[in-house]
């Protein structure tokens, strides 16, 4: 922030950076790494019941 001040006047804050209003802000991507996926437990084949 730059502070401009003339004697006898109110100090005025001049921002060093402002968002560009013409840019539609995108949501920042989640920084976290995705959790490792657990291997899917496949049910073992079982013989079909008969009768």
């Amino acid at each position: 922030m730059i502070r401009a001040h003339q004697p006898g006047s109110q100090p005025m804050d001049i921002p060093e950076a402002i968002p560009n209003p013409a840019v539609v802000p995108k949501q920042a991507p989640d920084r976290r790494e995705p959790a490792p996926t657990n291997p899917v437990d496949k049910p073992e084949k079982v013989p079909a019941e008969r009768g």
């Binding site: 730059i2 001049i14 921002p15 060093e16 950076a17 402002i18 968002p19 560009n20 209003p21 013409a22 840019v23 802000p25 995108k26 920042a28 991507p29 920084r31 790494e33 995705p34």
Partner: protein, 351 residues
């Protein structure tokens, strides 16, 4: 058509070394970069990055030690932003997406995010030295297209090479390289129309146009990559030369319409031409651009919802959407055009 030439470029550390380190904290991102590090998207240029840290250098200690220590990684590089405590040079990657992922992964490794961080100044490096006029267009397009409008002091643009004996670069937004290592091993598109030829190396032996983007965003990297590609192809007769020349003409027309055409005559880069050596001339142009952009931002804000009443001062004096919105439209249009032409080529000549 693809021609293969093997190129070996020396590095003090390899990208693979860096990715092994980053894999501990950011495995998915490190793997994604590793898979696509040489992939060139749509004939866009490769992306190099320099990270200038204005904060506590110890944040990077573990990373630097892991790569071989400061003597090997930092001290051989004499170039840095004047206020920076260190400058880490990253090996170039083939596409902007990988460059962004790489910075994300480094951010996860060291702690704070590197994007939009006031203590981190990013320098985005594009292969090929743009001439003075095209450097000006790159600087103006970056500034107006960014998601942040910044006020610069000349000191923000000072580097250890500002008054270098052999490679004086002045205080500028755009800087040429100092004849250091150059990795040519990225695809270069040439030809025209439906006749696209892909060379497996860049057409220059050396030479870069770097942009001191400051506290930059992901969008900044994508925009610099797009605009540098259009301008470099226009200058070096690449595949996108016609699109690049159209972009130049539209950008110049836009500046002319806003009575800012004189900005292009200012020396946005210091070349060997003595007419480009005056930092003051460049800084006057930059200040004019900054003042215009900030005023435009204020005007757009008062037109947005929530501001029911406008004073006569706030009523736009021209019928256009304003330069900030026009530059966004221009960048969107050229990105879409480049991607759609490239996709059409891929459908015609499947690999």
């Amino acid at each position: 058509v693809r021609r293969s030439i093997v190129v070996v470029v020396p590095y003090r550390y390899s990208l693979e070394d860096l990715l092994v380190l980053l894999h501990k904290c950011a495995p998915t991102k490190a793997d994604a970069v590793s898979l696509r590090r040489r992939t060139v998207d749509h004939g866009l240029l490769s992306v190099g990055l320099k990270i200038h840290s204005l904060g506590i250098p110890s944040r990077f200690d573990a990373l630097v030690e892991g790569l071989g220590g400061p003597e090997k990684i930092l001290e051989i590089n004499r170039f840095k932003q004047a206020q920076a405590s260190m400058c880490l040079v990253l090996p170039p990657v083939g596409n902007a997406r990988s460059a962004i992922l790489l910075l994300d992964a480094i951010g996860e490794f060291i702690g704070p995010e590197l994007f939009n961080n006031r203590e981190i100044q990013l320098q985005v490096c594009s292969p090929g030295r743009l001439d003075a006029r095209r450097s000006a267009l790159l600087g103006v397009a970056f500034y107006l297209g960014s998601d942040t409008l910044r006020r610069y002091s000349l000191g923000d643009l000072a580097t250890s090479f500002t008054r270098h004996l052999f490679y004086p670069r002045g205080r500028r937004l755009i800087l040429y390289d100092a004849n250091g290592d150059f990795d040519r091993g990225f695809d270069w598109w040439k030809g025209f129309g439906t006749h696209r030829v892909v060379d497996s190396q860049l057409p220059f032996d050396g030479g870069r146009s770097d942009l001191l983007a400051g506290s930059a965003s992901r969008l900044d990297i994508e925009n610099i990559n797009l605009v540098a590609t259009l301008l470099v192809h226009a200058q070096y007769h690449g595949y996108w030369r016609d699109l690049g020349r159209q972009f130049e003409a539209e950008m110049e027309g836009l500046l002319d319409k806003h009575l800012l055409a004189g900005l292009i005559a200012a020396p946005w880069v210091r070349t060997s031409d003595p007419n480009t050596h005056d930092d003051g001339r460049f800084y006057s142009a930059l200040q004019e651009l900054i003042a215009y952009a900030f005023e435009e931002a204020r005007r757009i804000k008062v037109r947005q919802p929530g501001h029911l009443f406008r004073s006569w001062l706030d009523i736009p004096s021209r019928s256009s959407n304003g330069i900030l919105q026009e530059v966004q439209s221009l960048l969107r249009k050229y990105r879409q055009e480049l991607i759609s032409q490239s996709s059409l080529l891929d459908r015609r000549e499947p690999t």
